[in-house]
Amino acid sequence: MTANRDDAPPAGTPTGTSGAPDPAPAEGFGRRFLRHAWSANPVTVTALALLLALAVGGVLAVLADPAARAAYGYLLDRPGDALGRTGAVLGGAYGSLARGALLDPAVLGRWWDGAATWQQVLYPISETLAYATPLILTGLAVALAFRGGLFNIGAQGQATLGVLGAGLAGILLPLPAGLHLVAAVAAGALGGAAWGWVAGQLKARTGAHEVITTIMLNYVAFALLTWVIHQPGVQDPARTDLVSRPVAGGAQLPRLSGPELRWDVGLLVALAATAGVAWLLRRSTAGFALRVVGANPDAARTAGIGVGGTYVLVMALAGGLAGLGGGQMVLGATASALTPAVVAQIGFDGILVALLGRVRPWGVVAAALLFGALRAGGNAMQSVSGVSLELVTVLQALIVLFIAAPALVRALFGLRRAAAGGPAATLARGW
């Protein structure tokens, strides 16, 4: 604890480079700012983890490029070749990643000249948001449980049940358009909540560790989904492979702006859920009980809080959130029929998103946006510069790995300890 003298610094808000030292306020402000910025605070560690991950990913991308490998073969003769090729590979890969995730300046220019539509300009950012939407919900599912002292590995299974509930309601229920959508979304949330409730009950009643039960329930959910898909009435009669009939049009989430862009109302649902979780954690009695149980179950019990009941509630709520995320996958723009792969990896990614977002609701949103951007940009990277989409998986894993080990990042970059003690270590409890 070297920097503990005053509490004036812009706590936690510095964004790396934008620290233009202002000469007016006090001579020491700029230096003080830098001192705090270059400490192991969450923002700096996250930024450096991202940087490290991009560096490792860059090495992989260069290694995978045959021309670059060849150029490194005669590095000593003509180092310019190798360095040039390295720059080209990195620029191509990460350039197309950024253009595919945020904004393509060329398209912007054409739009300015009237040669492109505004939808084309917004396409990358809408893709990012479309990928981020389910991750916000599954990330919240993991983060909420974390705050209640439970490690919810089961977001994947809960999302699978959400897909099942929402998909079945969307396929089978004969309801008018608007009501059908509401019913399908609710069925998804309920499906996920039921799956979370099971894990919560097991924990509360028998003490079975939630990590083990939720991992197992993930796979049970997957088998259940596969079984349901090939039941008569659900499976598409025209198909022999595992594809269900499509969800009724009236149960699909409306797009936010026309059919060209894939963002849909689910994004608003996700943001509303985030606000709801933030309110629950900060302002409500149930949220207080949840946090107390998470911090110290024995103290909670002594204070008269029903620990078991809280576990069940937390898991059901978390499951409901993940179920909403699953519903998004089958009612939204991603797919409109049940397949075994329809859930993708949103539950497992949700774990990473929750950790990256420091298990805070709006942090989860930010982390989900980053993951969504990587995914959307990864698609562009694969199609434009031919670098495999798997690189994105590596990047995501590495970012979280470095985030989870702030001590490593601190040592690598010679960061000071953060004034506030730095990012707390994630809970380490074992089975």
Binding site: A64, L202, T213, A223, E390, T393, A428, G430, W431
Partner: protein
């Protein structure tokens, strides 16, 4: 288990009796259901269990319905004994009961198969069971090595995958399966080293870490697969295969012969590794220290055991074992493909837990799960109406029941997952 909620009811003899009765009642009920439902569903056709690998040869023929009812009643009897005043050993009775229910089920399924297919070749069923269980055995053994010394290993999936990839790559490039085997072990060790350093030195939560390491393994191998193997399969991804060895007369034994008498190196390695690990854990200095470090690292440290060093050693060893398990895919039958382990690592984790963190238990659990897998295949060939998905759920459901204390009590090593802050 370190669950903060109260665990299953106390450990006194009364509670034990209660649990025994409950299990007995459950077993009897299952037997009754089996006798009634399977018996009613099984046609009058005969069910033939042959000892070899085909329809011919010696075997036993049972009338389907009578067999289903008879084995169901046997399970009822085992359950009733457990409920009675002088119960036999619980594990033994439970084992007999579960096997009887299974046989009752098989009698029904074999009897209802299309005419001409009313037989179950026990030899090839057992062989399939062993083959399917083999990666699980290696994976679960890797889990045992890690977790008995106090490091949670959720990364089995990734370790298997790394082994499979490294084995395929190096095996193909060198043209030698032995080189591939060594590389596979090293691949597993490399991934394990990541697990060890981040868990032991940087104190990252081990479950989180396992998940991240799995993801990293999937991403890395997938990336390298697309960069190297896909463009040039012949050069990078046509691994040489280990031949199958036959143990002479042993291979001709009925039932057991096909499973144990003929197999690749991996079968025999596993057959050595499991008892060796069990012996080493229970009887050697290393084993005692490993268990001490996993249960109470502080006490072990006081007695001069280098806690962190031992944990490093065990985690790396686990990586080698899992890596070899991964090679049992690519150096026997398949070339490498993306995400080829496909969740087997998590079944291995289930086997580890279901087997109560012991090598022998893990072996039995892996065989049980392998059997469930093999029965799925069989049911597919006889066009059974039983959905295979429910058999797929079996390992996971069994594990949930086990950790919930409904079948017996499973307890993880006390210090499992807790970083040691001392030396």
């Amino acid at each position: 288990m370190t669950g903060v909620a109260a665990g299953p009811a106390g450990a006194g003899p009364a509670a034990g009796r209660r649990r025994t009765r409950r299990i007995g009642a459950g077993l009897a009920a299952a037997g009754l259901v089996a006798a009634a439902a399977f018996g009613a569903a099984a046609g009058p056709a005969a069910a033939r269990f042959t000892f070899g690998e085909g329809a011919g040869g010696a075997g036993i023929t049972l009338p389907g319905r009578a067999g289903a009812v008879g084995f169901g009643l046997l399970a009822v009897a085992a359950g009733a004994l457990l409920c009675g005043p002088r119960p036999p050993r619980r594990a033994a009775a439970l084992g007999v009961g579960v096997v009887a229910v299974l046989l009752s089920f098989l009698c029904w399924q074999v009897a209802q198969a299309p005419p001409g297919q009313n037989f179950l070749p026990l030899g090839s069923t057992l062989r399939g069971t062993f083959l399917l269980a083999l990666p699980l055995v290696y994976g679960a053994l890797a889990g045992v090595l890690c977790e008995r010394s106090g490091i949670v290993n959720v990364a089995i999936e990734g370790q298997l995958l790394a082994g499979a990839f490294a084995g395929a790559l190096v095996g193909t490039v060198t043209g030698s399966p032995w080189a591939g085997l060594v590389a596979a072990a090293l691949g597993g060790v490399l991934l394990s080293a990541l697990l060890a350093v981040f868990a032991i030195r940087y104190l990252v939560d081990q479950v989180v870490l396992g998940i991240v390491v799995n993801l990293l393994a999937i991403g890395l191998t997938g990336f390298l697969y697309e960069a190297l193997m896909q463009p040039d399969q012949a050069r990078y991804n046509e691994p040489p295969k280990f031949a199958e060895w036959s143990l002479g007369p042993l291979a001709d034994l009925p039932v057991l012969g096909p499973a144990l008498g003929r197999g690749t190196l991996f079968l025999y390695l596993a057959a050595i590794a499991v008892p060796a690990t069990a012996y080493a854990l229970g009887r050697t200095r290393w084993g005692l220290r490993t268990r001490a470090v996993g249960e109470h690292p502080g006490a072990a440290d006081t007695l001069g055991v280098r806690v962190r060093r031992l944990r490093y050693l065990n985690v790396l060893l686990a990586g080698a074992v899992a890596g070899v398990g991964g090679a049992s895919y690519t150096l026997v039958s398949f070339s490498f493909s993306k995400d080829m382990i496909g969740g087997k690592g998590f079944i291995a984790l289930a086997a580890l837990i279901f087997g109560r963190w012991t090598p022998t238990g893990a072996l039995l659990a892996a065989l049980f799960f392998g059997f469930a897998d093999q029965v799925q295949t069989y049911l597919g060939t006889v066009e059974s109406a039983i959905p295979t998905e429910f058999l797929q759920m079996l390992p996971y459901l069994a594990t949930i029941l086990a950790v919930a204390g409904l079948v017996g009590r499973v307890r993880a090593p006390a210090a499992d997952g807790k970083p040691y802050l001392g030396r």
